[in-house]
């Protein structure tokens, strides 16, 4: 079958690879209908995710049709249309029972690697390096789904593919930011990053009753999209002092909840400072992750407020404003997304038309155009927010 593979830094290619197989009774095989790019893939592409290997199939935000089920799969049948959580979860360990699905104890088949890097092993993730289990990704004609009863969800009839595919990763990630960030009625919420993740976090904050939601980025096309489709306020950080702006928009207090949806490749508006961060990151010794937007979130947040980190970080960062965090009494939380906790609820909201996602799919295209899709997405060309691959088709996607 055809698949999009990581071949090295800044290199993806469409390759012919063996079809996936089932190895467990709780596995199933899904024929992929739609598979989206994600900001996390860019961290792989740019060489910041360790333990990638040439030939790894990437992609983790996807939807498809069940074509084969293991003998212990109970909740799915051949022919079902399913959206699959990017994070694999067993559903039965203590962490899964607490709703901390991305901390699942049983779904990472290479636990020793993260234990060495981080002390403990989080869950396995599709197409997301050997540290996260080495599972094949979804930019392929078929994908094996481990713990299928817990990791995959049947899509209700009223929800079209273009909407449901984002229930896999970006929508539950954004929801988690607002939910575990404890957004309350009347809060002012600031979101760094107007990619799919930031937009979904902003939408979730609105649905949780925030009085003002302010999304920041430097790409006006992304900010305009957020304002148009979600009705949120926006700020271009290259054109204004965002710390001052956020303070005044929250009546002098600072945002109650700050959601970071940028991650380890944050851009810094001052070109000299930006270059210096890049140099430090390239040494891998001075720092592995560039945390500009995280620092800003901590500085801008109101006293006693919450900083929720959705952006992916891998290693060490330099100049972390611990003094601000401690003296203002902030709470900082973070996670890979606990999608299994939110996907059924999000699908219901999508069916009722309460949760919008389909606008994120700016560039549907055939799988064979993988390298072009990643070029558009990485370089933020042609108004790209999500390039979405269509393995068995011409890239035309039906929308209702």
């Amino acid at each position: 079958m055809k698949a999009i593979c990581w071949e090295g830094v800044s290199e993806v290619a469409v390759e012919e690879v063996p079809d996936p197989q089932m190895y467990n009774k709780q596995d199933m095989i899904v024929k992929v209908k739609l598979s989206s790019v994600c900001g996390s893939d860019l961290h792989q592409l740019n060489g910041f995710i360790p333990t990638m290997r040439a030939g790894d199939v990437i992609g983790h935000e996807f939807l498809g049709e069940v074509v084969e089920t293991g003998s212990e799969v109970r909740r799915h049948n051949v022919g079902d249309r399913v959206v699959v959580c990017s994070v694999i979860a067993c559903g039965r360990c203590w962490f899964c029972e607490q709703g901390l699905f991305s901390d699942c104890d049983n779904s990472n088949t290479n636990p020793g690697i993260p234990e060495m890097m981080w002390g403990q092993s989080p869950a396995g993730i599709f197409g997301y390096s050997h540290a996260m289990g080495g599972f094949r990704g979804s930019h392929a004609e078929y994908t094996r789904i481990p713990f299928a009863d817990y990791t995959a969800f049947t899509v209700p009839d009223g929800v079209d593919d273009a909407t449901a595919v984002f229930a896999s990763d970006s929508a539950p990630t954004g929801w988690m930011g607002a939910d575990l960030g404890e957004v309350k009625q009347g809060d002012v919420v600031a979101v760094w990053g107007a990619g799919a993740v930031g937009q979904m976090a902003a939408q979730s904050a609105m649905l949780k009753g925030a009085a003002r939601v302010i999304v920041m980025d430097r790409f006006d096309y992304r900010l305009d999209m957020a304002a148009h489709h979600l009705g949120v306020e926006t700020l271009n950080y290259e054109e204004t002092d965002i710390d001052a702006e956020l303070r005044e928009r929250s009546d002098g207090r600072g945002p109650d909840v700050c959601i970071e949806a940028v991650g380890l490749e944050s851009h810094t508006p001052n070109p000299v400072a930006y270059r210096w961060e890049q140099v430090k990151q390239q040494t891998r010794v001075l720092e592995q992750d560039r945390p500009h937007s995280l620092r800003q979130a901590i500085i801008s947040c109101r006293k006693g407020g919450m900083v929720y980190v959705l952006g992916v970080f891998v290693g060490m960062i330099d100049k972390f404003p611990m003094g601000a965090l401690m003296n203002k009494g902030l709470t900082m939380r973070s996670a890979q997304q606990h999608g299994e906790r939110y996907i059924p609820m999000l699908l219901e909201r999508m069916a009722r038309g309460e949760f919008k996602t389909a606008h994120l799919m700016t560039h549907p295209m055939p799988l064979s155009e993988g390298p072009r899709g990643y070029d558009l997405f990485k370089n933020k060309k042609d108004g790209c927010v999500r390039a979405v691959f269509h393995p068995d088709g011409d890239g035309r996607v039906t929308r209702e």
Binding site: M52, N106, T109, N110, I113
Partner: protein, 157 residues
């Protein structure tokens, strides 16, 4: 000590309570007790009766036979069961380092057996990694291959 060898596994469950009552839990680590190997422990989200029904040890651990001593206790805070194992003879010094490098360290076998026991009991199966690899052998990929070859054992490769 409330230590139960795999060979006398029939009495495991009875010993659970007695080990606790006699305040032998948590067990001594190597730092406190240099005469013995370090215990390796995993928490299983099931009761001790489900972990070792009728005193039978989970198969991955039973397979290690007399190589290890095993304890089954209620986990701290009553969060299921603490399944613990330690080698009767642990390599030390140069031999230990050599075993670690060669990938034959028996401590890794113990950790693998604990992980697999936990998976079997919690989920009914041992989750298998991808077997048909799409990966290409490259020079720069060698360190990752090495890490993956040890990645089911203990976290310190």
């Amino acid at each position: 000590m409330g230590v139960i060898g795999a060979a006398v596994a029939g009495v495991v469950v009875n010993r659970i309570m007695s080990a606790r009552n006699r305040n032998l839990w948590p067990m001594a680590t190597i730092a406190q007790d240099r005469r013995h190997a370090r215990w390796h422990v995993v928490t299983i989200n099931k009761s001790p009766e489900e972990v070792a029904p009728g005193g039978r040890l989970p198969e991955p651990l039973a397979k290690l036979g007399d190589e290890v001593e095993v304890q089954v206790n209620r986990a701290v805070g009553d969060r299921g069961t603490a399944l613990a194992a330690r080698l009767r003879h642990e390599p030390t010094g140069v031999a230990a380092t050599a075993a670690r490098v060669a990938g034959t360290d028996p401590r890794q076998r113990v950790r693998v057996a604990l992980r697999e026991s936990k998976q079997l009991i919690e989920t009914g199966e041992i989750l298998q990694p991808e077997k048909v690899s799409t990966v290409k052998r490259t020079l720069t990929g060698l360190p990752v291959d090495f890490a993956v070859s040890r990645a089911r054992g203990e976290g310190r490769l």
